[in-house]
Amino acid sequence: MRRALTGVVLAAGFGGALGLCISLALAQSPPSEHKSGFEFISPESQATQQDDFSNPGMLWVAEGEALWSAQAGASGRSCAGCHGDAAVSMKGVAARYPVYFAESGQPIDLQSRINVCRKVNQKAAPFPLESRELLALSAFIGKQSRGMPITTGEDKRLEPFRARGQELYEQRQGQLNFSCANCHDDNWGKRLASSVIPQSHPTGYPLYRLEWQSMGSLQRRLRNCMVGVRAEPYPYGSQEYVELELFLMTRAKGMPLETPAVRP
């Protein structure tokens, strides 16, 4: 535990400075060699992620495991009541999200899919987006696919949404006029003030970010960059975020899922 805390504190000291510099966000070419954000963080943060007893994200995983088995809503059902052992039923699931959701005719991300299940099958109120409970369940489900290759985007019906996500990624925005690709494709590996700019592979969400001192979703991370370039962020749950996630996850195909990852 002492070792765990030291790791977190060291990483937090380093990460705090990184956190000051919100990533700014034109697109030429995608990275030819995919590198996870894991390769851009300090050895201390890497060790924290890799040790389940140090990784603060595991607290959310544990809470998610409890929620998985807890009865909820008018149905009195738990997730486990229908899906059984998550280690079996949820294995590989998070590695293929966002998926095409026939009921809406649109892609859906894991958090919103959990909420559909709550509403329709458990007859329970959906969890607010970015709530502790929803992050916990997403982290628990995500962890069942840890180490598995990302397979998102195989459904052909996703293609127009993926293409829209790519447009959003390459579109300049905000008072400072940056696209995501300006930094994360064209300048990854360089320093934005103290922060080394990573490539943009969302391999570990939800993840624990030292800057946040909390778990957060990819949507929260995308909002950070939008605020950094002085753009108006989309509201949580917006279709734009799902399309961006779909584009990024499809591009990250084959990379191993790291949930719950640790980042500065």
Binding site: A193, R230, E232
Partner: protein
């Protein structure tokens, strides 16, 4: 007067736009000061190192030994005053896209061609005309060899 106020009320976005000073681009430069006066290099240095105002050191490194964590996405500012004239520096700051449409240098003194600008930043340039002149005045003093 009443008509003018009404006009402002209908199109508040135009208030700042009207406040932006007109300037003339000659070749690769804006030869004339945006304010008609020379800026203050001391104030200019403060703007350059301020990570909320000038934002310069997020991307540029420069001769600022007291400043930690300088970026390396853009050219070193050391010697920038020998490489470029004040008019060239002014255009680079005002709207570098006029020189290179693919640049990642933010356009500091224009409201044109921007998408999805955040509510707090709408209809405002990144820097005022006075601030641009202060920064130009400071950068021209950077005559060291990088």
């Amino acid at each position: 007067m009443a008509a003018a106020l009404t006009l402002l009320a209908i199109i508040p976005g135009q208030v700042w736009a009207q406040a932006l000073r007109p300037y003339e681009i000659v070749g690769d430069a804006i030869p004339q000061s945006l304010t008609g006066a020379r800026g203050d290099p001391t104030r200019g240095r403060a703007i350059v190192v301020d990570r909320q105002k000038g934002l310069c050191l997020l991307c540029h490194t420069g001769p600022f030994p007291e400043q930690r964590f300088q970026g390396n996405l853009a050219p070193d500012l050391a010697g920038v005053g020998t490489r470029w004239s004040d008019g060239q520096l002014r255009l680079k700051i005002v709207d570098s896209r006029r020189l290179n449409p693919a640049t990642i240098m933010p356009p500091y003194y224009t409201l044109d061609g921007l998408a999805r600008v955040g509510r707090n930043w709408q209809d405002k340039p990144v820097l005022s005309a006075e601030q641009v002149e202060d920064v130009v005045a400071f950068l021209t003093t950077l005559t060291e060899t990088p």
